[in-house]
């Protein structure tokens, strides 16, 4: 699915003294088969942007289309349109920050079934989808019948993500999915996402504050600052703009900063850096 944004704006508390423009003049084409990262300092409008992508927030102006079909019309939505909007929210899966706080069912399996249940699948189909999703996030079979409140923090996070995966979205948006996890948990989760992306050809949009994560996994990077999209391009291209990124409170991956400082140019990962160093200094 291709999500297209044309001149999209979002304003909080319009018409009051607390009026804030959260997203202004966003023009984007997302989805397809890419692994996109959205970076930006706190308050730059990332969260608002992603909530518009799955129809939770309606833009103040501008148009969002899904495979060419717009979802918003002027005026109140009728029953059919509301249903379409709900289905859209499932086609574009959104995993919020700290998603483990939304768990509520008696067992892990039941909780993951909630999404497919809302989509109207039969009991067997719900369970089948839930099991597949739980397997995709690497949750072991013995967790299925446990209460989601008695498992560990890292497990909760995966189960919550599975709750969105179970709806089999075509685009998966994750808002800082690794926040608060330990280093091992972080890399495991990202590896799972990458695998899921490659196997199911699901487009992934990842909001992250870690430039290392972004450099290692994303093939496209969108940088936001003060409600505007300031950079948009392939990971290499965006990280070549070190000065601009630093100006908006971001930066480049540390390894990239290092290779630049010793005159080896841009790299994105430690492996690439090692290769480059070997090329240049290997024979000395």
């Amino acid at each position: 699915m291709i999500i297209k944004l044309e001149d999209v704006n979002y304003i909080y508390n319009p018409g009051t003294v607390e009026e804030v423009t959260a997203v202004s003049d966003a023009n984007l084409e997302l989805g397809g088969d890419s692994f996109t990262a959205i970076i930006g300092s706190t308050g730059s409008g990332k969260s608002t942007l992603i909530q518009m992508l799955n129809g939770l927030l309606e833009p103040a102006s501008g148009q969002i289309t899904y495979d060419g079909v717009p979802i918003y019309k002027k005026g109140k939505l009728n029953k059919e349109e509301k249903k379409a909007l709900r289905q859209l929210r499932c086609r574009v899966g959104l995993v919020f920050q700290y998603p483990e706080y939304q768990l509520f069912e008696e067992t892990v399996l039941k909780d993951v079934c909630y999404g497919p249940k809302n989509l109207g699948f039969s009991k067997e189909e719900q369970e089948e989808k839930a099991r597949a999703a739980l397997a995709a996030v690497g949750a072991s079979e013995e967790l299925f019948e446990k209460s989601p409140f008695e498992i560990s923090g890292g497990e909760k996070r995966r189960v919550a993500i599975a709750g969105v995966l179970a709806m089999e979205p075509e685009v998966l948006i994750l808002d800082e999915p690794t926040a608060g996890l330990d280093p091992l948990g972080k890399s495991q989760l990202l590896e799972l996402l990458k695998k899921y992306h490659e196997e199911k050809h699901v487009a992934i949009i990842l909001v992250s504050h870690s430039m290392e994560e972004v450099a290692q996994y994303a093939d496209r990077v969108i940088a936001m600052s003060k409600s505007k999209i300031v950079l948009d391009g392939s990971t290499e291209d965006v990280f070549a703009h070190r000065a601009e990124l630093e100006e908006i409170g971001l930066g480049v991956p540390e390894v990239c900063a290092f290779t630049q400082s010793i005159g080896l140019g841009d790299v994105l990962t430690v492996e690439e850096a090692a290769e480059k160093i070997m090329q240049v200094y290997g024979n000395v």
């Binding site: 939770l56 029953k79 709900r86 706080y101 939304q102 768990l103 909630y114």
Partner: protein, 275 residues
């Protein structure tokens, strides 16, 4: 659905009401509520309306903001009207099954609704113009004389202000959880009452879990800073009466006397419009 609950929340401003000592304001609320119930006729209510209008004007809290806070009280008001309207005895003018309407009932329903709204508006002015900390300090001072009978004044005051402080936190939490469940295809709009109520479970369970978690965290944070509510606790800003506070006390006492006087006078000289 639960967006911006304003009732019980502080509204930052620098009005004369904001600057008054919290004890004066607490006394004021008591006097005001007493007046609302003492007064029982039309002229009395005009007298009350002028008072509350003046107070709202002085508080610099926009009327729109106050009315927004009443949103959740309408149900209560409707319930009160319903029972007074259909179950009051008197000169019956209409009857059906167990319901009956009387002139007295209509009168009582209207006055009851007005009273309820006036009480809530008056009481909410206190929280609009007083920060939770100041309110706690004020309540604590007011409860002080009850120390002799081991009344836990400080603890109760602290609990009340924490409860008020938690309203916006939990509102935000509800909004977050609602969005998260909507993203999982939840449907809060369609279906009958029971279906809708059941649809609330995915919001209520995480809300309670998070409320308990936050309560534990707050308790830990308070203990980590060696909080103990016991005696001999000193204050950074001890409460001190200013000249304006004394003037306010005098006005309040006069107001209470006027309300009582008005009631007595009306009971003696006028029978029209009495409830």
């Amino acid at each position: 659905m639960f967006k911006d609950i304003t009732i019980g929340q502080y509204y930052p401003s620098n009005s004369i009401l904001h600057r008054l000592d919290p004890r004066v304001k607490l006394f004021g609320v008591v006097v005001y509520i007493a007046a609302v119930f003492i007064i029982n006729n039309l002229i009395g209510f005009i007298f009350l309306t002028i008072a509350i209008a003046l107070l709202i004007g002085m508080s610099k809290v926009p009327l729109k903001h106050i009315l927004k806070g009443l949103r959740f009280v309408w149900f209560l008001v409707a319930l009160a009207i319903f029972f007074n309207l259909f179950f009051s005895d008197g000169t019956i003018i209409w009857r059906w099954w167990i319901f009956h309407m009387s002139y007295e009932g209509i009168y009582r329903a209207v006055f009851f609704a007005v009273r309820l709204i006036y009480v809530i508006v008056g009481a909410s002015l206190l929280t609009y113009t007083t920060t939770p900390t100041t309110l706690t300090n004020g309540l604590e001072k007011v409860f002080k004389p009850l120390d002799a009978i081991h009344f836990p004044g400080h603890e109760i005051a602290m609990m009340m202000s924490i409860a008020l402080r938690f309203i916006p936190i939990l509102t935000e939490e509800i909004n977050k959880i609602t969005k998260a469940q909507l993203a999982r295809g939840a449907d809060f709009d369609t279906g009958g009452l029971i279906l809708k109520a059941r649809g609330m479970i995915p919001i209520m369970v995480p809300l309670f879990v998070s409320a308990f978690r936050r309560a534990t965290e707050l308790a830990t944070a308070m203990e980590a800073r060696c909080y103990s509510g016991g005696p001999n606790r000193t204050k950074m800003f001890p409460l001190k009466y200013e000249k304006r506070d004394k003037i306010a006390y005098i006005i309040l006492v006069l107001y209470l006397l006027a309300a009582i006087g008005l009631r007595i006078a009306m009971d003696h000289f006028l029978t029209w419009g009495a409830v």
